[in-house]
């Protein structure tokens, strides 16, 4: 266990824990609302913002946060207004963010090593400051879920009813989108812009397959998120592979296993037959 004595490894394990918790808790929002593509869209917005930061020499985290929260703020009302379906609204913002990201990448002078690192991310190079930021994000997110659980549950599972009984459903919905945006932005450097949506969607989608309780879904999703991060980290360290790619593969394997044993799979099969 010598490898645990290295400072960079301790940082990576802590970052994996907090990124795993934060991303997979945010993932429960988008998966339960059937807005998984929104996670992909926000991840690309964060990447575009971070690349703009690299190009204009300001903090990539700030750029990522501005763009991802901005994308959430645009997609939410667009999807809600009903003139465009949620899929179309998210698709339009997604393609804009992809275009902006490529544009900013092209405008960065020099070797672009830092910029390219944003695509892949690496838990093995995170600093103490990164870990602190991730820890704060995870703590705030989990606290908000605990404080507003009954409203979040009503909006996620039954939005029409939530509105009808006087819950501020729009504020809760936009709050969840903003929280997803902030989580993606903060986790970008560790997990990477191209692979972070895997960590957002796969653990939550796996948890969705395994339980009919939202409370349990949050807990299972967070546990699987951490497990995916640590498994990816271990594989990356042992076999000198890209950390982000290993995390994405680990979380996808977990989803496949959860689907195979899901009680809901049988339910859906029964519905189709019935």
């Amino acid at each position: 266990m010598d490898w645990l004595e290295h400072q960079f490894m301790q940082n990576a394990i802590a970052a994996g824990f907090f990124a795993g918790v934060a991303c997979s808790v945010a993932g429960v929002f988008v998966v339960t609302m059937h807005l998984s593509f929104l996670g992909v869209c926000i991840a690309h917005a964060a990447l575009a913002g971070a690349l703009m930061g690299e190009w204009l020499h300001f903090s990539p985290v700030l750029g990522a946060m501005a763009f991802s929260v901005g994308a959430a703020a645009v997609v939410g009302p667009l999807a809600d207004r009903g003139e465009l379906g949620p899929d179309s609204a998210i698709g339009i913002v997604f393609s804009l963010m992809l275009g902006l990201g490529l544009l900013f990448l092209g405008l960065i002078p020099g070797s672009r090593t830092e910029a390219l690192n944003l695509f892949w991310g690496s838990l093995l190079t995170v600093t103490r400051a990164d870990v602190t930021l991730l820890a704060m994000t995870a703590a705030v997110l989990v606290s908000l879920v605990i404080l507003f659980f009954k409203e979040i549950q009503a909006v996620l599972c039954h939005r029409q009813v939530a509105v009808a009984v006087g819950i501020p459903a729009a504020a809760i919905f936009y709050g969840m989108l903003t929280a997803t945006g902030v989580t993606v932005a903060v986790s970008l450097r560790s997990v990477g812009g191209l692979l972070i949506f895997s960590l957002i969607i796969s653990p939550a989608a796996a948890a969705f397959q395994l339980t009919y309780s939202l409370k349990r879904m949050f807990i299972i999703s967070a546990a699987l998120g951490v497990l995916a991060c640590w498994a990816g980290l271990a594989a990356s360290y042992l076999w000198d592979l890209r950390t982000g790619a290993c995390i994405a593969i680990a979380s996808s394997v977990m989803f496949a296993l959860a689907s195979a044993v899901s009680p809901k799979r049988r339910l859906l099969a029964g519905t189709r037959e019935g």
Binding site: A154, V165, G166, I167, P168, L214, L268
Partner: protein, 267 residues
């Protein structure tokens, strides 16, 4: 608005694009009354209900519910006191929510942000489930209910909210005849016990088996056509075959209305 008046609508117009869903509608409902709202599809019945809980886009006119204006900063305040039972929605059978949690959602608005349900609230949820005969379903996932069970649970949720006004939007539309009768009896029982004001929307005057589609306690009928109130009066007077035939644009004198409605695809 008199103290006995629960609902007052004055000349309300609601539009979707260029089409008026409600066109200069005025209506007063006294506290404790049960009013049936009938009319063909697209007559504006559901819009009338959403107008009352502040979810329609009011273009002109005035609305007061329990003395509050839902379009002047009191929308959420009104919704906390108005129980709205929408048409059976399509529910994802995998949704991570059980029946007890779904009924608890009815209380969430009244409880307010940052307040957790206490023992009395949990007891109210259990009591609501018992009242509709669905206590045995409390731990079942919401997506695993039949249509009739789902509507009973929806009624329990509205009951748990302890509303002063009930808005029922075609609650029997998508369930089998036996479940329709059970639900109508339950709604009648709930109205009698709560003493609340109720508006009950349906586009059928009779169920498929010929039973009345409105509870017996419904003493007043509002007939809607083309976004307007076409007739408003005692149920006994308005529920006559010629008027109903005219309301639904059914020309044939020989076929009973139920048959004409079915042929027109109303069922």
């Amino acid at each position: 608005m008199t103290p006995d008046c629960s609902i007052q609508i004055e000349n309300a117009t609601v539009s979707f694009g260029k089409r008026h869903a409600l066109d200069g509608v005025s209506l007063e409902v006294q506290r404790g009354d049960f009013v049936g709202v009938i009319g063909p599809n697209g007559a504006g019945k559901t819009t009338l209900l959403t107008l009352l809980n502040g979810l329609a886009r009011l273009e002109s006119g005035r609305v007061a519910v329990l003395g509050l204006d839902p379009y002047n900063g009191s929308g959420r305040g009104v919704r906390k006191r108005v129980g709205y039972m929408p048409q059976t929605p399509r529910i994802d059978p995998r949704v991570p929510l059980n029946v007890r949690e779904a009924v608890m959602a009815g209380l969430s608005g009244r409880l307010g942000l940052l307040r957790r349900p206490g023992r009395a609230d949990l007891a109210a949820v259990d009591h609501a489930l018992e009242s509709v005969g669905a206590a045995h379903l409390s731990q079942r996932p919401l997506g695993k209910l039949s249509g009739g069970e789902y509507q009973k649970v929806a009624l329990a949720r509205v009951l748990a909210q302890r509303p002063e006004v009930f808005l029922f939007d075609e609650p029997t539309a998508a369930i089998d005849p036996r479940a329709q009768l059970d639900l109508l009896q339950l709604i009648q029982q709930v109205h009698a016990e709560c003493g609340a004001t109720s508006l009950y929307v349906t586009h059928n005057i009779r169920l498929q088996d010929g039973h009345a589609a409105l509870p017996d306690c419904c003493g007043r009928l509002v007939m809607m056509r083309h976004g307007r109130i076409w007739r408003d009066g005692p149920r006994d007077e308005l529920a006559a075959e010629p008027l109903l035939r005219e309301l639904y644009d059914c020309c044939s004198e020989s076929a009973p209305l139920y048959e004409s409605q079915r042929q027109a695809g109303s069922f």
